[in-house]
């Protein structure tokens, strides 16, 4: 009964009302960052790093939508980054450089790919689903490597960022930063809405108990497929942005390692909390960026040569560190933020 007493005070829609501080702080930080960047002296570097964080935030959030709320472990989500990226790259080589065309094309292409591969892979469950999405991802990867006209293995460099309605506004790193932030905010607001909607409730219900959902008259497959398509389109949008950020597209966009990293970001941030995925992406990318220096700093008591080796082989620490976080911090970073409130 004590268990009951503890939770009885929690109203049903707690998910949406209790931890609002986190996303507000998060987005405020993103909005304030350009100011900070101006004063940091390394403006270009800070902006491009944070832009990457936001782009991967969108992709991780897309994955969280099906992984966290639908328990669908897609191990091929990087494919959509690739589709988005190649839509930009391929159209640009044919002279279509406007984002107002590139992005819709990327979204439609992502949706179609998601529809076809989802319709097949959602007929399987568990490990088989993971494997089949991985296979589809790899299929697209090898397709990209064989596209000789578009750079094949080496990928292709974009001559410039996309235009917006004919203007070269995105040439400015600031403008591009704001565009990514708007996309992130839009994707977040949309995802929040989807999760709380009738549709999202069916998706969450299916995650908990698919048989029960069928027994009250839902056909889970249709909802899972729709969620998969939505998620794919969001990741496709992230791909468009990523190509513009790097001004480069290559098959490396959609390696299976990239898919794995996306899963890691979601788990690191905390499954099933959309802003958690953004935080996960940020933590992952910032650690990846700064861990060598952190290691170098922390190991001040070691010989200079050893410190250099350590910084050089930072991945030896990175991997175990991620595993430790996932193992010991249940619910990821969001779980950590949530805990003190439970008392």
């Amino acid at each position: 009964m004590t268990e009951l007493a503890d939770t009885a005070s929690a109203p049903a829609p707690s998910l949406s009302t209790r931890f609002e501080v986190v996303p507000i702080v998060l987005f405020a930080a993103f909005a304030a960052a350009p100011l900070f960047a101006t004063y940091s002296g390394a403006e270009g570097y800070v902006l491009s790093l944070l832009t990457r964080v936001m782009i991967f935030g969108i992709a991780a959030m897309a994955l969280d939508l099906i992984l966290g709320y639908g328990a669908l472990v897609s191990f091929g989500h990087a494919a959509f980054l690739g589709i988005g990226g190649y839509a930009v790259g391929i159209l640009a080589t044919h002279g279509i450089e406007d984002a107002l065309i590139q992005i819709p094309v990327a979204l439609v292409a992502s949706a179609l790919f998601a529809l076809v591969t989802g319709a097949i892979s959602l007929r399987t469950k568990g490990v088989y689903f993971i494997m089949i999405t991985l296979a589809f991802g790899q299929m697209l990867y090898f397709l990209a490597t064989s596209l000789a006209a578009y750079g094949g293995d080496d990928g292709m460099t974009l001559s410039s960022r996309s235009l917006v309605a004919g203007s070269r506004i995105l040439k400015s790193d600031f403008a591009f930063y704001w565009m990514c932030l708007i996309c992130l905010l839009g994707a977040y607001a949309f995802s929040r809405s989807v999760v709380a909607s009738r549709f999202g409730r069916v998706l969450r219900g299916t995650r908990e108990n698919a048989i029960r959902m069928e027994a009250i008259g839902f056909q889970p497959f249709r909802f899972q497929l729709a969620a998969y398509v939505i998620s794919g389109m969001m990741a496709g949008l992230a791909g468009c942005l990523l190509a513009n950020q790097a001004e480069f597209v290559s098959p490396a966009f959609m390696t299976w390692q990239r898919s794995g990293e996306l899963i890691f970001m979601v788990v690191l941030g905390g499954l099933g909390s959309l802003h958690g995925a953004i935080i996960g992406a940020a933590a992952f990318l910032l650690l990846e960026e700064f861990l060598p220096e952190i290691l170098h700093g922390v190991s001040f008591f070691l010989a200079e040569e050893t410190r250099a080796h350590l910084a050089e082989n930072w991945k030896m620490v990175f991997g175990p560190l991620l595993i430790l976080i996932v193992l010991f911090v249940r619910g990821g970073i969001m779980g950590l933020l949530r805990r003190p409130r439970h008392g």
């Binding site: 268990e3 009951l4 939770t7 009885a8 929690a10 109203p11 049903a12 829609p13 949406s16 949309f190 809405s193 989807v194 709380a196 909607s197 009738r198 549709f199 999202g200 409730r201 069916v202 969450r204 219900g205 908990e208 108990n209 048989i211 029960r212 959902m213 069928e214 027994a215 009250i216 008259g217 839902f218 056909q219 909802f223 729709a226």
Partner: protein, 251 residues
């Protein structure tokens, strides 16, 4: 007699050489509470699976409201008004009791392909859901995460979810399974209140409950229906007594 609401014709299901449902034919009249009893392993749950569409039948047909539903999936049958509960409690543990029921209401009211608007705030879903919870005697516990409900309350929740799908016929697979005396009393009371308003097919081990609730009883032994009759005559039926001898005391 009126046309039966549910009719099973020569239903059969075998796992290899093991025939679990053997040529079962059965007619359930509108409005009656029809109990199916039988010793352990008689194939009662398999039969419910076949009626609800969880399992495909090897042969035979299921007619519901005069139409052949044998080839329909479970969600399609639910859409026609054929709902079921599960022997092993099957709820959404992370959802509140109210949301469990509201989802069932949602399945019946309008499209669920709506991506905007907070579903948990929809009055049109929550109000009927609350009614169903109250009918099942669970109104006071509506906002508790259903995973934290007691076992008996979960059984009541199963009933409420079943009701919320607005069924013409409710298949109940051992609604009393695993409940204590007081809890089972509550569920029996709920069933008594529902009786007459709804056609119910009840599979149950608790003989006392069955004989006090049922209008008619069918006895299933090794996948065959050996008798269908009023509770009084079933109790007196020598064949039924023989089947149960050494199994359980008949009331």
């Amino acid at each position: 007699m009126a046309e039966p609401l549910l009719e099973l014709r020569n239903l059969r299901k075998a796992y290899g050489a093991l025939v679990v449902t053997d040529d079962v034919s059965l007619a359930v009249q509108p409005g009656e509470l029809h109990a199916i009893i039988g010793p352990n392993g008689a194939g009662k749950t398999t039969l419910i699976h076949q009626i609800s569409g969880t399992l495909r039948s090897d042969s035979g047909s299921v007619l519901f409201a005069g139409q052949d539903v044998t080839s329909l999936s479970m969600p399609q049958r639910v859409g026609r008004g054929l709902a079921r509960s599960f022997q092993i409690t099957s709820i959404l543990p992370g959802f509140s009791a109210l949301e469990n029921v509201a989802l069932a209401v949602q399945a019946r009211s309008g499209s669920s392909f709506r991506f905007f608007g907070n579903a948990s705030q929809e009055k049109a879903l929550n109000q009927p859901a609350m009614d169903c919870l109250q009918q099942a005697g669970l109104g006071a516990r509506a906002h508790i995460p259903s995973g934290l409900l007691s076992h008996g309350e979960k059984r009541q929740l199963e009933l409420a979810i079943g009701l919320a799908t607005e069924p013409k016929l409710l298949l109940l697979d051992e609604p009393l399974a695993g409940t204590g005396h007081d809890e089972s009393q509550r569920v029996v009371e709920t069933l008594r209140r529902l009786k007459g308003r709804l056609t119910i097919v009840l599979i149950e081990h608790d003989m006392e409950a069955v004989f006090s609730l049922a209008d008619r009883v069918s006895v299933l032994v090794y996948g065959r229906v050996i008798a269908t009759d009023t509770p009084g005559r079933i109790r007196a039926n020598p064949e039924v007594r023989a089947a149960y001898l050494g199994e359980e005391e008949m009331v």
